[in-house]
């Protein structure tokens, strides 16, 4: 039985404690230990962005972060985005633009968009496409996603 470490971190503004093995990724901790299943596992190797979360203000692939590395850090996931009775403007923009089909890539795209607009509220199309290059979608097509990001930027302006 592998040894588990005790980790205390902040997730979506709340202090959370969990036990995990060193080999468990942040993605596994979120999904399997904390039952926050919004972040998805696509590739598990850093290529698809389905697992994107924000760690201490930076966009990261949670499949490439160890759960134990988050001690004392702050994690933002898709679950923390919407208010209880109201979607976040980025979520609205994705819906209005039909920027999702199966939806497995969507939490990653939305967290990536959040990190983009937090750092650059008025990105050009070029900047949007490069920023989102690490998020793959196999069904919607990127034009609708890019338009959703542009609308979300306008809505937050």
């Amino acid at each position: 039985m592998a040894i588990k470490s005790h980790v205390q971190t902040t997730i979506n503004g709340e202090t959370v404690e969990f036990l995990c093995e060193s080999r468990q990724s942040l993605l596994e901790v979120l999904r399997d230990e904390l039952h926050l299943t919004g972040a998805k596992e696509g590739c598990n190797n850093g290529n698809c962005g389905a697992c994107s979360v924000i760690l201490d203000g930076r966009l990261v692939n949670s499949c490439l972060v160890l759960g134990v590395e988050t001690e004392g850090k702050s994690v933002e996931t898709i679950e923390g985005l919407a208010a209880p009775d109201k979607l976040h403007p980025i979520q609205d923009a994705f819906l209005e633009n039909a920027a999702l089909q199966c939806g497995i890539c969507t939490p990653g795209f939305i967290m990536s968009t959040k990190a983009l607009l937090d750092s650059n509220p008025n990105p050009t199309e070029h900047e949007i496409r490069y920023w989102l290059a690490g998020n793959l979608c196999r069904c919607t097509g990127y034009d609708k996603i890019v338009r959703a990001v542009q609308d979300a930027a306008k809505a937050s302006a």
């Binding site: 850093g46 490439l64 972060v65 490069y130 290059a133």
Partner: protein, 291 residues
């Protein structure tokens, strides 16, 4: 993924002592974007991961117009390209840090890790070579420095001895009328691994007509990134001209010994060395002319 022990080291001596004690199955964890995947895919056998991100020395990012740049081994890419003076002084490094993976990778991956991973195709290594970077290495017997072109010894292997770790990279201050450039060929627009990469640095005379010195380095055309020493030397003292650039590009092609694999054939790679060397040199020269 195999089970391993995670240890967050607080000081360089602590990390060195752990590396020395645990031996080959201990590995330094910085950004983790290569290491975690390698362990998960059973490509590296690791029993101890030593996280160095809490060690002050590996997080240093300090630029001074006289002393140059100290770049801690764990500084992630996004922090580097966020610094305007570093972007101005070392554009070749910036070219590389902006194309390693996507945004989320650049939030964790750093130049030091890219170097220690020792991939022949590593984008950061050619710019480090052309910028004369020195590796600051700590080990059980103290500190030593080696030039970056001597760091990688074969794919995935480095000059680090038992118990040693990379602490920082030091890059001299840029000379007047100098600049650098890095580019790679990939079949996509982003998120890919170099089929070939080429970096160049040039220093021009005050009239900006003659090349005082130049350095050229290549990725993905040999078991390690290469310093194209002869090609670089050919340019010293030459007036700016297409002929001078072509001669250097041909000399760079002569040292490439690429393999054929899923990314490209040896023939294509050799051709690309010529094309990319010309573009890297012209890119660096143009930056001097535009400054």
């Amino acid at each position: 993924m195999q089970a391993f022990e995670y240890i967050a080291a607080r000081t360089v001596p602590e990390a060195v002592a752990l590396l020395d004690e645990k031996g080959e199955k201990a590995r330094i964890l910085a950004g983790g974007t290569d290491l975690i995947v390698q362990v998960r895919e059973a490509r590296r056998d690791v029993d101890w991961m030593i996280d160095i991100k809490a060690i002050p020395e590996v997080n240093v990012l300090a630029y001074d117009a006289e002393a140059g740049l100290t770049l801690g081994a764990a500084v992630p890419c996004y922090q580097i390209y966020a610094e305007a003076d570093i972007c101005d002084a070392y554009p070749g490094i910036i070219d590389a840090t902006k194309i390693i993976g996507g945004t989320a990778i650049q939030g964790r991956a750093g130049v030091g890790g890219n170097l220690c991973n020792a991939s022949p195709a590593a984008d950061c290594i050619p710019p480090l070579i052309v910028l004369n970077a020195t590796c600051v290495i700590a080990g059980p017997n103290g500190e030593r420095d080696i030039p970056v072109e001597a760091f990688c010894t074969s794919p995935g292997q480095t000059a680090l001895e038992k118990g040693e770790m990379l602490v920082a990279l030091k890059i001299p201050a840029p000379q007047n009328n100098s600049s650098s450039f890095y580019l790679r060929f990939i079949p996509r627009n982003e998120m890919d691994i170099a089929v070939v990469g080429a970096g160049a640095s040039v220093t021009l005379d005050d009239a900006k007509q003659t090349i005082v010195s130049a350095r050229i380095a290549l990725a993905a055309v040999a078991p390690t990134p290469l310093f194209a020493e002869e090609a670089s030397a050919l340019l010293a003292g030459r007036e700016l001209s297409d002929e001078a650039i072509d001669a250097a590009a041909q000399a760079a092609q002569a040292i490439a010994r690429p393999i054929s694999d899923m990314r490209g054939t040896a023939e294509q790679r050799t051709h690309l060395v010529g094309v990319l060397t010309r573009r890297a040199l012209n890119g660096a020269i143009q930056r001097v002319l535009d400054a």
